[in-house]
């Protein structure tokens, strides 16, 4: 019995690992009535050897699937071992892992067997059993099955902390090419079901405090990059649109890992585009936490991110007129735009300068990347600068001083002219 369970876990964890979402934060479920579990700011309980965090038990209910999406390892035409968990097996695994403090909760996805509603109904049974019978208040991330009925999706939202449905490819045309049975329209429809219900219940909560919690950690989606030839601009404009229209909490970017001999996609064995993925996440962060408009970072003149330097530095070098920023007088938003200063130190600067002008030694102690920032700021004892520094020289200086974490493995990523 236990050997078969182990094999199922191997198959269904392996098939689920390409979904990169790992967040366990954003929900505030309390452990009421001496049950088990709660949620808060999220904890990464371990990290795999690829450096990704393990926060949730991330599994598929089954990898049987009626769809044949070319980019997916569980596609129906792929000759692989298939398996399916029973409802009780998923519940037992979740509870026993949770009680040993291995995980923050469950991430449950599934291949589609029979039809969407049949699959969604099984998943719903698992989350209901966890919440209602096991008195479990830990985190649950549930995938919305494309095509599931609004009633089913809405009911699931009463038990899950987060729900997500993947866009897969950055553009509709890219998706149509590789997965003719799927569409962005369908994803939009499912995302709106949850969004509308969330808005409705939030309004209700203003009047009746006890209105039920509904997907408290919000919705997210995932875009696979590098399988189809879209530019960074196309990827990020899609992300920006979905952030704004569907109030998504997160968009994940997943560098495509070749899993098929399909000639429309990168060949088996080619390295996943990790540098590009990293730059996309940096851009995402600049949009969400640094008040950048996406059009400032990517536009028709700059449709792709610079792999050598991060997008914030890249923006700064393109906009020398914005600098230098005086840390002793500039507004928070301007300080945030300085390469080498993050949210944490920008806030410290704003707080500390009320008590006196800030000098270089204090900025260094606050933890800003001084060697990078010094080209863009003025402080109490900054050296007198007679002529404007040439952005090309600044770029060169910074590149020489920094050791890029990717420098050794850039070969797979960069097609060098």
């Amino acid at each position: 019995m236990s050997d078969r369970l182990k094999e199922k876990l191997q198959i269904l964890a392996d098939a689920a690992k390409y979904d990169v979402s790992c967040a366990s934060s954003g929900s505030d479920r309390k452990n009421t009535g001496k049950g088990i579990g709660d949620t808060g700011s999220g904890i990464c309980h371990s990290y795999t050897e690829d450096g990704r965090c393990v926060s949730l038990l991330k599994i598929l209910l089954t990898n049987h699937c009626i769809y044949d999406c070319a980019f997916c390892v569980s596609r129906s035409s792929n000759d692989i071992k298939r398996a399916a968990f029973t409802v009780d097996e998923v519940v037992a695994l979740t509870m026993n892992f949770y009680r040993r403090n291995y995980i923050e909760g469950l991430f449950l996805s599934s291949g589609i067997f029979k039809n969407a509603d049949y699959t969604m109904e099984r998943m719903l049974r698992i989350v209901k059993k966890l919440r209602l019978e096991e008195n479990y208040n830990g985190y649950i991330h549930l995938k919305t099955i494309p095509g599931a009925s609004p009633e089913m999706v809405t009911e699931a939202g009463l038990y899950a902390d987060r729900m997500s449905i993947n866009l897969e490819m950055p553009t509709e045309s890219g998706l149509k090419m590789l997965a003719p049975e799927k569409s962005h329209e369908e994803v939009k429809r499912e995302l709106s079901v949850i969004r509308n219900k969330s808005v409705e219940l939030a309004d209700e909560r203003k009047v009746i405090k006890s209105a039920p919690a509904f997907v408290p950690a919000g919705q997210s989606t995932q875009i696979v990059v590098g399988a189809t030839p879209e530019s960074d601009m196309e990827v990020m404009y899609t992300a920006d649109h979905f952030y704004k229209t569907y109030s998504l909490k997160r968009v994940y970017y997943s560098g495509y890992i070749p899993i098929s001999h399909d000639t429309r996609m990168p060949a088996m064995g080619s390295a996943p585009p990790v540098v590009r993925e990293n730059r996309l996440y940096q851009t995402d962060w600049l949009m969400r936490f640094y008040a950048f408009e996406i059009s400032e970072l990517l536009n028709n003149d700059h449709p792709n991110l610079d792999p050598e330097i991060d997008p914030k530095l890249s923006w700064a070098l393109r906009n020398p007129g914005f600098f230098p920023v005086d840390v002793n007088s500039a507004p928070y938003r301007s300080i945030l735009r300085v390469p080498g200063i993050g949210v944490y130190s920008a806030k410290k600067i704003i707080a500390a300068r009320r008590f006196g002008r800030l000098y270089a030694w204090q900025l260094k102690k606050m933890g800003i990347a001084f060697n990078r920032a010094r080209h863009f700021i003025r402080y109490a004892d900054s050296p007198i600068q007679l002529n404007e520094k040439d952005p090309a020289i600044i770029r060169q200086t910074i590149l020489e001083q920094s050791t890029c974490k990717f420098r050794t493995d850039q070969s797979g990523q960069l097609t060098l002219f």
Binding site: L9, A13, N31, Y47, D50, F355, Q362
Partner: protein, 259 residues
């Protein structure tokens, strides 16, 4: 410069702050009494920990910097560093002398040091919330052993009490030889005394043997850990940065010979 010797406890440190005002002394070295080497002439003042005086300083801090600020200050204490304690003393004096808004004066070395130490200890506290691995015993007790860099058990007790409210658990700090135990109602500190010299090891009582299913779930966890890794993206440097080697011996997924 005057030297204050205190008992390395948090109330002791707060008492030192109180005494410095009572004695109208300002330039003070605050150091742990344990391991102190008296010089000549010996002018050190021994501070006797006093709960009432400590409480007054604690309340005074609360009034000036609020609960969040006070918790940060408290967190820094668990760095177990005499340098940090000196900064805490300086910080408290700075707040009392100049007002609570100075808690944001990161240009001041004491204020910045408290933030830095609190961050360090906070990181270890967070790691322990992540890296505790319970084993289930036959009597239903979930037990874990840890060896944190800082003394963080007092800072994580509440988290585990709230989360695992329906199971008895114990977390034992092997380095500091004490643990915290939750009996379904309260969390309390437990000490395990070393065996007296010459005593032979006694067999563990049946209750301390692992539950029959425990090894199954440990091995399922190890299997899961392996299967969820993407080999094509191998990045051991990042892996070790997030899970430093010194924690491996208490993590079943990093058990030697398993991977």
């Amino acid at each position: 410069m005057v030297t204050y010797l205190f008992d390395s406890t948090f109330p002791g440190l707060l008492t030192a702050v109180f005494e410095s005002y009572a004695a109208r002394q300002k330039e003070i070295n605050v150091i742990p009494a344990a391991g102190y080497q008296p010089g000549f002439p010996d002018t050190a003042v021994t501070i006797t920990s006093d709960p009432e005086k400590a409480q007054r300083v604690w309340d005074g801090l609360g009034k000036r910097i609020g609960n969040a600020g006070r918790y940060e200050f408290y967190t820094a204490f668990f760095s177990e560093s005499s340098e940090a304690w000196q900064h805490m003393f300086g910080y408290a004096r700075y707040i009392f002398d100049h007002g609570g808004e100075r808690a944001a004066d990161y240009g001041n070395r004491h204020v910045l040091a408290i933030a830095t130490y609190a961050r360090k200890v906070g990181r270890e506290r967070h790691r322990m919330k992540a890296f505790v691995r319970f084993k289930k015993g036959m009597d239903g007790l979930y037990a874990a052993v840890v060896e944190p860099d800082f003394n963080v058990l007092p800072l994580i007790a509440g988290h585990f009490r709230d989360r695992y409210a329906d199971q008895r658990w114990m977390i034992f700090d092997k380095r500091r030889r004490y643990g915290i135990y939750y009996d379904l109602t309260f969390v309390q500190e437990v000490k395990i005394e070393p065996l007296p010299a010459g005593a032979s090891r006694v067999a563990a009582p049946a209750a301390m043997l692992p539950d029959e299913n425990d090894s199954l779930y440990t091995s399922l966890w190890q299997e899961y850990f392996k299967s969820t890794n993407i080999k094509e993206r191998a990045n051991l440097k990042l892996h070790i940065q997030h899970v430093p080697r010194r924690y491996w011996k208490h993590l079943p997924e990093k058990e030697p010979g398993f991977l």
